[in-house]
Subunit: 339 residues, 2 copies
DNA sequence: ACAGAATATGTTATCGATAACTAAATCATG
DNA sequence: CATGATTTAGTTATCGATAACATATTCTGT
């Protein structure tokens, strides 16, 4: 014995000795695997408890070359949007006996790649990514490692592995068409700086599609300066009013839209009489606004649950649909004129 | 060789063979530890890259009996409050070369205990808990395992190990005293059901302290029925108006307060003329409200950073203060009458 | 040019748990 | 009651990486 083998009296050997059985018997007993008589199992489990036994997942994962882990990457946690997706997902994952570990990328595909590299060293059984735009190396790495991978939130017909999401361009088109049908003619889109949130840009493109179908184009896009989501909406709104004369303003999300709506209130601009406001996501805050936003309801929780289920199926080699686009729903609120 | 040893051509042995050196040399080279000539190191690293080597953290953690992991438990992720704390913390943790894994407990100390049990099997070097109220077994487990533990958000003079937080009762007292000084006399507190959020209850107690000091008591507490935070605020507000005749309403958090404020707007109740509204946390949304909330600014990000630093110090056996209470600041807004 | 220091590299035992294989004990049935 | 089928339990080799110890090689200063 070279290394000082200071057994903290808590490992599987100690229990085996105490119980007068072999290692394997303890291992089987602790895992609830068959091959141990009920009586012995109880005995062993009680000894384990007494000795304060804490199983070593590292050893287990090493022996099995696989941890019961599913890695989840999100852009950030400041956003109730992803929290909804995540909560749905976690339930399903944990119910199936896996653990999820979550990390954030702050909308950077470089961060995302770095995160994946770290994650892979832990030998996860599955990976969940937000969105479908990634560093090219990421796709390659996942496929060469042959790890079941779910892309969610966004939709792609050609996912890395499987995908459950929303077709954001189509969603943009839907809300765009509704707004067009109300007779609006001078739209502006307020989002974040180009390249940061590609889903939002898809939506903007969908909105532009709808307007260009009736001969209105382009739909100017305004990138709000960095701040909290609420503030970006408020500031973007101000900028929009200064630089254009919009009759309707689309916002990247409800957060932004709330910012815009409040800014309008402050400025004494009447909504929807003088200007229309459109959000995205139908967040919880919408339920308590004096005027409910016209927005798009996204099935976030459902997306999380379905995504997780499909991923789990994939992990267990059950065939699943490669790519699923969930429908969204236009929510008619009080911040746009009535039909 | 019993088991089919299908080396995926990517482990440390393969690299060693390819490079014609021993395992240890590869291990040292990969870790950037001294004991390898610069030339060899480069050679080995390039071979590793070529073979698509992915280090196995499970093996590493097993060999070292310690993973570079810090487990973080939060009540939930729906809340920008904890997101702020977390972001501050993560930066510091990652900067120091550790990884953090986050999980949520949904305000249940039973969940928290279960989380800890799972976490411990991974042999983390440190643990972060939100709040100071836990299952008694949790304290014992952490102390007997001698794992550096940070309790944050809340303050306790007798932490499990170390603590960086806010004295919520004191914070409640401060805002309470300010409100008292404005001449309000019929306060109501709107929170969640008893036992769920103990910090919030501390705040309520602090507020009550302030009022009872001028002979006003009790401060009725209303528990809003479960819903989103915004909605709970809105509904609680309605209940408060029906059951009492408050001249000022304290809310568990700004989320709630925004709900209340919006409800007031809807009902045509003028704030602060007819009623005062007080929040907690000074969240981002406050910056864009038509009327800024009177609230309490909590140093969330700073708390995360300082907490992480202290925990890291603790992990490295550098002595640190056992318990730190960070100061809060009353934010004078437009939702209470002026002095 | 040579002893002792410093640097570079190899050998071996472990970390804790598990799969695969083997062996012993118990059971069922004609 | 004998014998193959079941159940229960033990033995051994591994998983991939690392610390500790041992050895070989290169410097350094006099």
């Amino acid at each position: 014995m070279k290394r000082s083998r200071s057994r903290k009296k808590g490992d599987i050997h100690a229990i085996a000795k105490e119980a007068g059985v072999s290692l394997m018997t303890v291992s089987r007993a602790m895992r609830g695997v068959e091959g141990v008589s009920e009586q012995r199992r109880k005995e062993i489990v009680s000894i384990a408890r007494r000795l304060n036994y804490v199983p070593n997942s590292n050893a287990r994962a090493l022996a099995l070359d696989n941890a019961n882990l599913i890695g989840v990457s999100l852009p950030n946690l400041f956003n109730d949007v992803f929290a909804d997706v995540l909560n749905g997902m976690r339930g399903a994952i944990e119910y199936a006996g896996y653990s999820s570990i979550v990390d954030t990328t702050d909308y950077s595909s470089k961060n995302e790649l770095a995160w994946l590299e770290r994650l892979l060293t832990w030998r996860p059984v599955g990976v969940v990514l937000t969105g479908v735009d990634h560093d090219p190396a990421l796709r390659e790495r996942l496929q060469s490692a042959a790890i079941p991978t779910l892309e969610t939130w966004d939709y792609s017909a050609d996912p890395i592995d499987i995908c459950v999401g929303i077709d954001h361009r189509e969603a943009g088109r839907q809300i765009g068409e509704y707004i067009v049908s109300l007779g609006y003619q001078r739209p502006v889109y307020i989002g974040t700086k180009p390249g940061r949130d590609l889903r939002a840009e898809d939506r903007a493109a969908g909105i532009a599609d709808a307007f260009s179908a009736v001969g209105i184009q382009p739909v100017p896009r305004i990138a709000a300066p960095d701040a909290s989501n609420f503030e970006m909406g408020a500031r973007g709104f101000t900028v929009a009013l200064e630089g254009y004369a919009p009759d309707v303003v689309f916002f990247l999300s409800d957060h932004y839209a709330v910012g815009g709506l409040m800014a309008a209130t402050k400025m004494g601009i009447s909504v929807p009489d003088q200007i229309g406001i459109v959000g995205y996501n139908d967040l919880a805050i919408n339920a308590i606004l004096p005027q409910r936003l016209t927005t798009v309801r996204t099935p976030r929780r459902q997306m999380g649950i379905m995504g997780a289920r499909n991923l789990l199926a994939r992990i267990n080699n059950v065939p699943v649909e490669k790519a699923i686009a969930l429908p969204v729903e236009v929510v008619i609120g009080d911040t746009t004129r009535q039909q």
